[in-house]
């Protein structure tokens, strides 16, 4: 990923576009449980925005938005949110991931809905962190602009 010249157009456009991609990613995640979308897709969009900035500004400047060292812990955390949702159901007397047993709301359909949302958030976080981490790992040690 050697950048031969500073191109202000690319820098500017990518900096402008990145927040919108991220916003769209969040939208996709938060609507995933009742419309097309979800954690995988949203997480990928989030990662795309991070990686876009790393590509255009260089990995060092890109750190400000998402530090590389957070990659693995955030991925773990994301899956833990997923896992925790399942575990909560298990601890409260249901099977693993049986959302009907999670005390988010009184109504069972709503519980299910909230349960899926919580899982989607976890998945989104994990997917984003993992994709960024893969990108970072592959670049590790390479000369960077």
């Amino acid at each position: 990923m050697r950048r031969n010249e500073n191109n202000p157009i690319i820098d500017l456009i990518s900096s402008l576009v990145a927040p919108f991609i991220m916003l769209f990613g969040l939208y996709v995640i938060f609507h995933g449980h009742y419309s097309p979308g979800g954690g995988f897709q949203g997480g990928t969009l989030l990662a795309a925005s991070v990686i876009l900035l790393r590509l255009s500004l260089g990995s060092d400047l890109g750190q400000g938005q998402f530090p590389s060292r957070l990659g693995t812990p955030l991925a773990s955390l994301g899956v833990l949110i997923y896992y925790g949702t399942g575990l909560a159901a298990l601890l409260l007397g249901g099977a693993f991931l049986n959302y009907a047993f999670i005390p988010f709301s009184v109504l069972t359909p709503l519980r299910r809905s909230w349960g899926i949302l919580s899982v989607e958030i976890g998945v989104g976080l994990a997917v984003m962190a993992v994709l960024v981490a893969i990108y970072d790992d592959l670049l590790e040690g390479e000369p960077d602009a």
């Binding site: 097309p36 995988f40 994709l131 592959l138």
Partner: protein
């Protein structure tokens, strides 16, 4: 016979894709091309699943107020798509690991050509 060939045209396409992928894995000497072959193979399998769910006169499996929920034949089977979502993730992860390994190999042996690599391995004193 004609029906068999034409009726399954999509499967023939998938079969072709798989063959290309396998050929890439087996015949190409460059490790990166092998990974590309792997990805093609993976895509072929994914398409195979997705194609199996296709259905005439049916729509995406999201509740459409106009169609209602009474007649489920109006919707296509969502399960293969869900499965393939997972398979795609697996594919991404596999490619990621493959590239990480390729980078390790490059750093240690300075080659990605399989023949050269085997030669270097043989002469490597461990």
């Amino acid at each position: 016979m004609h029906d068999f060939l034409v009726g399954h045209y999509f499967y023939w396409f998938i079969f072709l894709l798989m063959t290309i992928g396998l050929a890439g894995i087996i015949l190409k000497r460059n490790l990166i091309k092998k990974v590309i072959g792997m990805s093609i193979l993976q895509v072929a399998i994914i398409l195979f699943f997705v194609a199996s769910a296709s259905k005439w006169d049916a729509t995406v499996p999201i509740l459409d107020p106009a169609l209602g929920a009474a007649d489920v034949t109006k919707y296509i089977n969502p399960l293969p798509h869900c499965l393939m979502l997972t398979a795609i993730v697996v594919g991404v992860a596999t490619s990621g690991v493959a590239f990480a390994l390729i980078i390790m190999i490059w750093r240690r042996f300075r080659t990605l050509d399989e023949n050269e690599l085997l030669e270097k391995l043989k002469n490597d004193p461990d």
